[in-house]
């Protein structure tokens, strides 16, 4: 009897298993299998900006390639290869975080009759793909993000020329969606960019379309292309293009530190003690009127663009080292430098991004060593602005042989307004003067327009493109595109420079005239497209082409040299 009891005791756990539900514990209690679109749309917009912005995405290296920033990283000698961190990170945040969520939103929107979600999805998708085509050329497009729907693990790469028309069609389809009547489900505050405004998205879509048309104006029949652009401009009502500073297509960052909602270049500059971005002396000298192009014309945007940590008169550096390039308070290094002072620590002395590019500090001449609280980081990332639109139109007028004086004047005026707009968003507690309409601004515009009027057709185009380049400081993708499709602005050429000399008397710690000339060289030519991401793409995609063997040969179909 006792034995039976013991036996039962032994077998009890065995009997327990009789009920198979004991094993049904594999439903993930931690992560949802579905979420509403309202949670995905902000993620898409956040990552679209991260993919492109300096500090986090493609803009980090491209700001060096367009010679507005200098660095000691690989980009310094045009050597950001496919192993580059920023490049691989951008590739991931583009395809995985932005596009995969985007496709999910479009599918969900179509299934639940929410055309505005679908429209925003299509417009953003077209824009992001256009940026990638412009930077990389051939990219995965038709088979991209088809793992979930079609089981495609290894997308093929499509030709850049084949992708462009499809993007225009995607924009048109997005506009159709945005013009549909208001549906039951519409985006609101979850649309971080435009708060769900259908009108703003239509303006954005048309302006992107204008930009794509202009970017390809030299491909094939130039006259026909120009005619098509003008037809588009005439056919599109003014209310359907970006027409105000505040209507610009921008991602709004804020000053919240945790979780980080600041412009990514802000913590990389103001919070990181070891800084990677120096302000390019080439860019500085153009703004300062030291470059022959705008000789003697000082740009009043300098204190909004750069912040000088050094006192202009100080003889000792904040880091105890001598500098490669110093002009009073402005401290930097050259691109491709082999100078003896290139490697010196100057984190506490170097000039850093100001308020306009990343929400840093407006330079009121207080020469502080910057820290996390010197600025706010609340500057938007500017995808495409009203100023950009005006510069694009000025370019079209100029290309068509017309007089772009009025358009250029309004474009530069708008560029100043944009600086004020950003300063208004990003100002912490500084007293920042209004730029637009100030006498400095007016003088500057008059001086530039004077040069424009006097210049040859080529010079005029150079002035338009250079002004656009100055205005878009902080958003480098289109600058890189503009340079490769028009040849402007003229960029620093390390291979012909051999040696460069810092401003005489710029460094109070040295005897005047003793600043050593700096040798610069770069074994590579200007990369006419970026290499593809190796770690996250080429290393694992069997259908990917081999890495581009020579980045100096023209690659994207609209390239001037193609």
């Amino acid at each position: 009897m006792k034995m039976k009891k013991i036996f039962l005791l032994f077998f009890l756990p065995a009997l327990l298993v009789g009920c198979t539900t004991w094993l049904d514990v594999n439903k993930d209690p931690n992560n949802p299998t579905d979420v509403p679109m309202t949670l995905l749309l902000p993620t898409i917009e956040i990552n679209a900006a991260y993919t492109l912005a300096p500090g986090q995405g493609l803009g980090e290296d491209l700001a060096v390639y367009t010679h507005q920033v200098s660095t000691r990283e690989a980009a310094n000698v045009y050597n950001a290869d496919g192993n580059e961190f920023y490049l691989n990170q951008a590739w991931n945040s583009m395809y995985i975080t932005t596009l995969q969520n985007l496709d999910n939103v479009i599918v969900k929107a179509d299934a639940s009759n929410a055309p505005y979600y679908s429209g925003i999805g299509k417009i953003l998708k077209a824009y992001m793909f256009s940026q990638f085509v412009d930077v990389f050329g051939d990219i995965p497009f038709s088979q991209a993000n088809k793992k979930a729907s079609d089981g495609i693990l290894y997308p093929k790469f499509d030709k850049s020329a084949d992708i462009y028309p499809l993007l225009i069609a995607l924009l048109d389809s997005g506009i159709v969606d945005m013009k549909k009547p208001v549906a039951a489900i519409t985006p609101g505050a979850d649309d971080l960019i435009f708060g769900g405004s259908a009108k703003s998205w239509i303006k954005t879509a048309n302006t992107i379309k204008l930009k794509l048309l202009i970017q390809t104006r030299l491909v094939g029949d130039k006259a026909k292309n120009l005619a098509a652009i003008n037809t588009f401009l005439t056919a599109t009502p003014a209310t359907e293009l970006i027409g105000k500073t505040s209507e610009g297509f921008m991602f709004p960052y804020s000053s919240v530190r945790t979780p980080d909602q600041r412009h990514p270049a802000y913590p990389a500059t103001y919070e990181a003690t070891q800084k990677t971005d120096d302000m390019s002396p080439w860019f500085y000298e153009i703004l300062k009127g030291k470059n022959p192009l705008f000789s003697g014309i000082i740009d009043p945007r300098i204190p909004y663009y750069f912040y000088n940590q050094m006192d202009p008169k100080a003889t000792a550096g904040n880091d105890g080292n001598s500098f490669e390039y110093r002009d009073g308070g402005f401290v930097s290094i050259y691109f491709g430098s082999n100078g003896p002072d290139n490697g010196r620590a100057q984190d506490k002395s170097q000039t850093v991004y100001g308020i306009y590019p990343c929400g840093g500090r407006y330079d009121q001449g207080d020469a502080q060593v910057v820290s996390a609280t010197s600025g706010t980081g609340a500057a938007p990332y500017r995808f495409l602005t009203y100023a950009d639109r005006l510069f694009l139109e000025a370019e079209v007028i100029q290309a068509g042989g017309g007089d772009a004086t009025a358009k250029l004047t309004s474009a530069i005026t708008e560029a100043f307004k944009l600086v004020d707009y950003v300063a208004g968003k990003a100002n912490g507690s500084q007293s920042i003067p209004v730029l637009a309409g100030s006498s400095n601004a007016t003088d500057y515009i008059n001086a530039i327009i004077g040069l424009y009027t006097a210049g040859s057709a080529e010079k005029k185009m150079e002035i338009i493109m250079t002004q656009k380049w100055i205005s878009s400081f902080g958003s480098s993708i289109d600058q890189y595109t503009d340079y490769r499709r028009t040849g402007y602005p003229v960029l620093f050429d390390p291979n012909n420079a051999v040696s460069v000399t810092p401003p005489i008397g710029g460094d109070p710690s040295r005897t005047t005239g003793s600043d050593p000339a700096v040798n610069v060289s770069c074994p590579r030519g200007f990369p006419r497209s970026l290499p593809w991401a190796i770690t996250n793409e080429l290393n694992v995609n069997k259908n990917a082409p081999a890495e581009k063997s020579d980045l100096t040969s023209p690659y994207v179909f609209w390239d001037l040299k193609k």
Partner: protein, 1053 residues
């Protein structure tokens, strides 16, 4: 009365029937010939009958000899059985038996088998050996002692994880560590990492470190699948079975025995680099406040400006008013950062019993401070166990153990990763004129001061302020019952649990270069509870005049695992010095997850024996796992093994040839998935601007996942010669794992980073040799050798159709471990330089330096070619001496330490620098990667001279170079251990309360030689940054390995 009970018990134990009425009573005593001590529990049997008894605590016995009985057979495990005439007061001396081969080995699910019947390799370790050596990490003792086992240390700081791997990596993405079973309950050796060890994090400890080595009774290593098959799912990487003293108390009869074990040792860095002391900070022979020691020669400059004005600002009296300091070498500046660590370990073991009931208590305490200031490790453990045999024949056993470990250490990782601050960022690379240890490391308010606050945190400040503090509690409990139902049938049941709770705080203090100087606190609370239930029914019978033996086991197993984890991040410390989440400005939940999984298994195991020289074992198991889809959740796997003692079968034994055995085994082992691996999910992210956000998970999943299988064939032989004084044990195995559950890396353009599915095939094939030689085996003088050889070849045979390669772990963009068809497991793929078709380097005609190739290639294989261990023990009278050497041949390591020592120009390797170099190669075009040809189409040899500075700091061979030149062959020869001791003579101790006393001195990691590592770096290729994970061969400024010298005292009374 007590004696009678005892006797009756003994009678029962040996299965004796009734006492014959015509019998006569015979008494006697049994002693050991070796030391003259009484033998307790020896079996005394009347020859030709079933009558028998066992000896008592004094070695005495009394037996009733039937009229038919003439002689007594006296036997005891490990001693020669002898036959004596059954007469009164007989005194028997038993001699040790070198010939017997009946060592009992604990095998899967606790089944005991004789060594003879095993068809696979199994090794048992005696923990007593390790306890004489002041070794805080017991797992390290397996290194070179057990063939087939690869043990790797990680960092040289207290408590850092040890990786253990048996017969290679059989799973693409599992941790590939063996299953560790403690008293029947599986415990994970998992390392809980709060922060990625690429960008920071501590030298985290492993799960095994919370097992008290003082309570370990035996440790058995089951290497192959045939041995481990019954454990099923988790055993494809072998099993380590640990039986604790408390959990396995036997029916011993002895008075209270107290054993005290104490050890004290010192710990220091095994080898610092040989620094050059001719040149200070700067570049190209000119001084500047730089990190590299490529500057002006000492003696050419009187003074230099103080590198950081904060020193003078806060400590005006300690620095000259000029603000300048002397420019001179600081030969000991690295050495002075560190101190001598101390290890103290004390344990008390109490054991006793009355033959029916027994108990064991082990109390122990370990206190270790490392050579890094403010690093320590402590372990306190209490284990209690007892057993009782009830009157109805039921034996009940129970044990509970509690262990608390506390680990304190600093943060590591790759300092160059954004937001990181490694305590070893500069520690080993200090510019030769920096006097870090001689100058204050912090301001009066506790902010760091270094030569460049922007680039690194002063290591001394880092050690004190940026810390990882981990507290682990492990509670293990165990209950078991055994009952002999019939003469041939018995049943046993075991229920055990292991609860592992980890509580961690990682602090980045205010002022650090990490966390924007604002301070940051991470907390991590992890709890893993595992319950295991095993029921076994065993039938055993000898048939046909005992020529055949049959043993059949039917078993049932349940396993239930629950894991919870909550991790939080508090950003910006508000009030300095208070490290609580409530004292931070904003808090973010990093993780809050519950994981549950369950498994049910049913198994059968049949062993057939013929005449004790042929054995066949067949087993099968079916599992039902909660982690697989319902349709695929049930899976079956079989195993067959056999052994043949041909020396017995063919009767070819002689003094020359003692034992010959061959064995063979084949097994298939199934494995399930991780929990929640079937359905794609979304991750809910932190809100942005008040908007809740979520993102589709980057890992896509396969709803039709199937179990994965590993198949292994092993063949082995055991040959012993010269009365067992020379013994060889050789094994060959071939293990193929198919249908692996793993993540295929996807290109980002697919929309996902990975796809978790079944794919691929991986092979491990190798040999293991274990040889022992007792060169001298006299009573007073013994000298023996033990040699092990391990070779494993780990090849990826297939990946999924069309998959070219898979990233095993994303370490850095310029180097990571990969899987690829035809390549070794986890080979290192990284950046390389352009070469011409003949393999010559291409040289940049503008700089004379190398040209990076944008495509990555294989740059190393971290898997060693082979490993050898050689141990020797000499015993002379009461003295003993043992030494252990081992070597690892091959295996590559990417070393940031070596790369930086060379690149910073701080070691004697780069001291010879006052001339230039020409890198052999041909000019190449940096844009195309093709050689530049002269007018007649020939390549142009490089003639550009470069400085030593550029050679190691430009785009060439160390810092800023491609990773191919920072990967080194990790071959290393090591004098791992030396122990010398004395066993106090028992006669000497007779008048003391002590039963035995042993004193020993030990040294660990005395010397090593790594021929292919740059000489003066003295880098130990055994260090790595990824602890017990399967990412090996990568070192990112890890803490160097240690050397330990200690004394150990063991007393029993």
């Amino acid at each position: 009365m007590r004696k009678l009970t005892f006797l009756l018990t003994c009678l029962f134990l040996v299965g004796v029937g009734l006492v014959n009425a015509q019998s006569r009573s015979v008494s006697g005593s049994v002693f050991s010939a070796d030391d003259g001590q009484p033998v307790i529990g020896a079996t005394v049997k009347v020859k030709g009958t079933t009558v028998g008894t066992i000896t008592d605590t004094d070695g005495k016995f009394r037996i009733n000899v039937p009229a038919s009985g003439k002689n007594l057979l006296i036997s005891f495990v490990g001693m020669k059985t002898i036959e004596v005439e059954a007469k009164n007061d007989v005194v028997i001396k038993l001699e040790a038996d070198a010939k017997q081969m009946d060592e009992v080995v604990v095998t899967a699910v606790g089944i005991k088998r004789s060594q003879k019947s095993l068809g696979y390799a199994a090794s048992t370790m005696a923990p007593e050996d390790a306890l004489n050596k002041s070794q805080p990490d017991f797992l390290k003792e397996l290194q070179g002692n057990v063939a087939g086992v690869d043990v790797r240390s990680s960092q040289g700081t207290p408590g850092a994880a040890t990786r253990i791997n048996i017969r290679g990596n059989s799973s693409f993405f599992g941790d590939n560590e063996p299953l560790i079973i403690v008293d029947g309950v599986p415990i994970g050796n998992d390392q809980v990492a709060t922060t990625s060890q690429t960008s920071g994090g501590g030298a985290y400890s492993d799960g095994f470190s919370s097992i008290d080595p003082n309570d370990i009774a035996t440790m058995t290593v089951l290497k192959g699948s045939a041995a481990a098959a019954l454990y099923g799912s988790r055993a494809s990487n072998g099993v380590i079975i640990i039986k604790t003293k408390s959990g396995n108390v036997g029916g011993m009869k002895k008075k209270l025995e107290v054993t005290l074990n104490s050890s004290w040792s010192t710990e220091s860095i095994a080898n610092l680099p040989d620094y050059q002391n001719l040149y200070g900070a700067g570049s190209n022979f000119s001084y500047s406040n730089a990190n590299g020691s490529w500057g002006a020669k000492f003696g050419t400059l009187d003074s230099i400006p103080l590198q950081n004005s904060d020193w003078k600002k806060y400590y005006p009296k300690s620095f000259p008013s000029s603000g300048n300091i002397a420019y001179k070498a600081q030969p000991n500046n690295v050495k002075d950062l560190f101190k001598t660590g101390l290890v103290a370990e004390n344990s008390i073991n109490l054991a006793g019993g009355n033959g029916k009931s027994a108990f064991n208590v082990t109390l122990s305490n370990l206190d270790q401070t490392g050579y890094v200031p403010n690093s320590s490790y402590g372990r306190t453990s209490i284990s209690v166990g007892g057993s009782s045999e009830l009157a109805n024949g039921l034996t009940i056993r129970g044990s509970v153990s509690f262990t608390n470990t506390k680990q304190l250490g600093s943060q590591f990782g790759e300092n160059q990763v954004s937001g990181a601050s490694s305590s070893f960022a500069r520690a080993l690379f200090l510019a030769r004129n920096w006097d870090i240890a001689g100058q204050p490391y912090e301001t009066p308010t506790g902010l760091p001061i270094s030569t460049s606050n922007a680039q690194y945190d002063n290591p001394l400040w880092d050690f004190q302020h940026n810390t990882v503090n981990t507290n682990v509690d492990r509670v293990m409990s165990n209950f078991s019952a055994e009952y002999k139902i019939l003469d041939w049938l018995s049943a046993s049941y075991q229920l055990g649990s292991s609860i592992y709770s980890l509580d961690r705080k990682e602090i980045i203090d205010i002022g650090s270069r990490a966390a924007g100087g604002k301070g940051d606190i991470k907390t991590d609370i992890y709890r893993h509870a595992e319950f295991e239930s095993n029921f076994l029914l065993t039938a055993q019978k000898d048939l046909f005049d005992d020529n055949f033996s049959v043993k059949f086991i039917l078993g049932h197993n349940l396993n239930d695992q629950n894991t919870t984890r909550q991790a939080n991040d508090g950003a910006e410390i508000s009030v300095p010095g208070i490290y609580s989440l409530t004292n931070t400005k904003t808090q973010t939940v990093l993780e809050d997850a519950i994981t549950q999984r369950r498994l049910v298994g049913v198994f059968g195991d049949l062993t057939l024996g013929y005449k004790n020289y042929v054995f066949l074992n067949v087993s099968g198991r079916n599992d039902w796992s909660s982690t697989l889809p319902i349709a695929n959740r049930s899976y079956f796997y079989p195993a067959v093994s056999g052994s043949f003692i041909f020396s017995d079968a063919l009767d070819i034994k002689s003094d020359l040839f003692s034992i010959g055995k061959i064995r063979a085994g084949w097994a298939k082992v199934g494995n399930d998935a991780s929990a929640y691996s079937l359905v794609n999910t979304y991750g809910v992210l932190t809100p942005f601007n008040g908007q809740a956000t979520a993102s589709v998970g980057s890992a896509s999943k396969d709803p039709n996942l199937q179990p994965e299988f590993t198949q292994e064939v092993e063949l082995g032989t055991m040959l012993e010669f010269f009365k067992r004084r020379l013994a060889f044990d050789f094994t060959w195995y071939n293990k193929i794992s198919t249908n692996q559950i793993g993540s295929i890396s996807l290109p980002a353009s697919s929309g996902f980073s990975s796809y978790l599915t079944n794919f691929g095939k991986i092979q491990n094939t190798g040999v293991e040799l274990d040889a022992t030689a007792k060169v001298i085996d006299n009573r007073d003088f013994k000298w023996s050798f033990h040699y092990t050889f391990t070779k494993n070849k780990n090849t990826v045979l297939e990946l999924a159709n069309g998959v070219e390669r898979i990233q095993l772990n994303g370490v850095l963009d310029n180097i990571s471990p990969y899987l690829e068809k035809g390549m070794p497991f986890g080979y290192l793929r990284g950046t390389v330089n352009y070469r011409d078709a003949q393999g010559n380097l291409l040289i940049d005609p503008k700089t004379g330096l190398l040209i990076p190739d944008p495509n990555q290639k294989m740059v190393g294989d971290p898997n060693p070619d082979y490993k050898m261990g050689l141990g020797t023990t000499v015993t002379y009278k009461n003295f003993f001496l043992s030494a252990h050497f081992d070597m690892t041949k091959g295996g590559d390591i990417y070393s940031v330490t070596v790369n930086t020592l060379l690149g910073r120009g701080v070691t004697q390797d780069t001291q010879d620098r006052e001339h230039t170099w020409v890198i052999p190669g041909y000019y190449g075009d940096a844009n195309t990667g093709k050689p530049i040809l002269d007018a007649s189409g020939n390549k142009i040899a490089n003639t550009i001279q470069v400085t030593t500075n550029d050679l190691y700091f430009g785009n060439s061979f160390a810092i800023n170079g491609q990773t191919e030149f920072s990967v080194y062959d990790a071959t290393v020869y090591r004098f791992r251990e030396l122990t010398f001791g004395y066993d106090f003579n028992k006669k000497l101790l007779a008048k003391t309360p002590f039963g035995s006393a042993t004193i020993s001195f030990s040294a660990y990691n005395l010397w090593f030689y790594a021929p292919n590592i740059p000489k003066h770096t003295n880098f130990d290729p055994e260090t790595n940054s990824y602890g017990s994970t399967s990412t090996q061969g990568i070192e990112l400024s890890a803490a160097p390995s240690t050397r330990r010298l200690g004394v150990n005292l063991k007393l029993t009374f």
